[in-house]
Amino acid sequence: MQPKRRVDRSRLTMPVNNPRFVDKAWTRGCDGFQLDLEDSVPQSQKAHARTLVREAIAKVSKGGGDVEVRINMAYIVADVKAAAWPGVLSLNIGHTLRTDQIELADACISQMERERGIRPGTIAIQYAPDMVYATVKDDELTKASPRIRWYYGGGNYDYSLSLGVEMFTGLDPLWYARNNGSLLARAHDKTPNVVARLPDTSGSVSDADRAFNQAEATRKLGGRKGSGLHPAVVEPSNRGLTPPPDELEEARQVLAFWDELDRRGEAEGMLDGTVVDRYEAARAAELLDWADACAQKDAFKARMTAAAREREGQ
């Protein structure tokens, strides 16, 4: 079974019309996939790409990864019809600028859920505040549909474009957008995306060491999500976002100490030079819960992958 808590350490994005990527995706160990109908699919291929989505969903999910589909803001009706199938976790609208785009997507998904026997409300919407024009409307966009569960403020390539800056200068031009988004997500009870942005001057999408360092720094900041464009970053991203044994041991000690403080009727105490209070205890409990969810996800993916390999005689 999938863990109750969503585990999304390594979301791999790929153009749905590229069989070289789609056919092998389930073997990559990803927690999730984003099948792209949007910017990585040329205009001339859009209609053909829509016909491939349903089969691609079945293919990539064989290894236990969640499936999202990124749809075009300009073709919401056609893309939702092509993408809203059982097994899809979320439809992601690229370049969202207006609430009516989200409302239209919501209505189309509702219709597809009815027609295709999907429990109402199953498919989430993620909108991409991936340009400065969206950041200034974040507040209204975030409230546009109850299907919006996660909020990831400040994308990469598109946001840099709207700022008119280069991405790989070692500076972090997306700092404001990301932090604004993180606060906004919490203010609207959405799951935020906390990301540590390490200086990057190469722009390589396949650098495994960098992916690990980025994921590890994100985990230490409290972030739980990772994504990538190349299979080489999947494993390091999973590893970096999974708590290592020494951190888990420390968390158990904090919780044990907190229980002792609680029994003594005290609100805080010192453990190895660090103050332990209810906030530290809550952080330790969250980390252990996250580690359990990661372990469940890994076990689920392993079972699904093994079963798929057996079916396919690999």
Partner: protein, 309 residues
Amino acid sequence: MLPVPSLVRRSVLVVPILDAESVRRAWSHNADAVMLDISGVPETERRRARSLLPEAILTAARGGAEVFVRIGKDVAYADITAAALPGLAGVALPDAESPEDVAEVDAMLRERERIEGIPGGRLEIFLLLSTARGVWNIRQLLRASERVSAAALDEPALCRSLGVMPSDEFDALTFGRGRLIVETLAITRLPVGMGHPLAARPRQLTEEELFHAATDARNVGFKGALCPYPSWVEPCNRAFTPTDEQVEYYREVRRTFAEGVARGTAAVAFAGGQMIDVPVDERAKLGIDLWERCRKRDREKAAALQRAT
């Protein structure tokens, strides 16, 4: 293509109006814009400072620079009456905190345009934010008048009003700078600013140090910088102009992406493990466009300079 500010205003040289020698030479530094400052003039000298504006505006424009006058918010009517002459690009409004502040200046400029025979709507407002309230309300300030063309933090003044001691080591204005850039670009106006720590602690440095700081400013989204010294102008012009090498990279990106699209893919591998898709191609297009606009601006200034000498 995305809407982007089309103005090229890489260097805005700030010149105190009572510094006669600096005013006399303001046109010769190759700045894209000159901002004549009467806001810092003592009250007793105000009248004389205003009387200097007609000639100073003409002098500052000789090298092809746009000319702004930085007015005092509390004496805006008198300052605008003295400054709003043919040849003026607009006024820089410091300390704005509410949309009403901006709307009031808008109305004054409209009146002066009518009286002076300046085409309606031509005079711009350049916002200079120096308080927390101004930074927080920037979205409303930018939308309070169609005349608002650019915005900058007056970082030394903002530090004073926040009670922050400017420091090279710690950057206290990251949030304000990010907010200004995002909000200003979202309405297609020009964010102007220098990299940390020079904006909050301006000083004379080597050309390469200034170039480095201006490059940092460009890389976080600023499109030009306020220059308190003439020595800042050339490094800023250089840093905010794409280099020939960058333009060649942009052209290679565009060629590679077009070949990918022709093959049926819009996610194309590129040198150094990079990936090109639509936004990367669009960014390259914008870079080439900016380079062409900078060249055009440089030709305009060179022609003006030739006429002046």
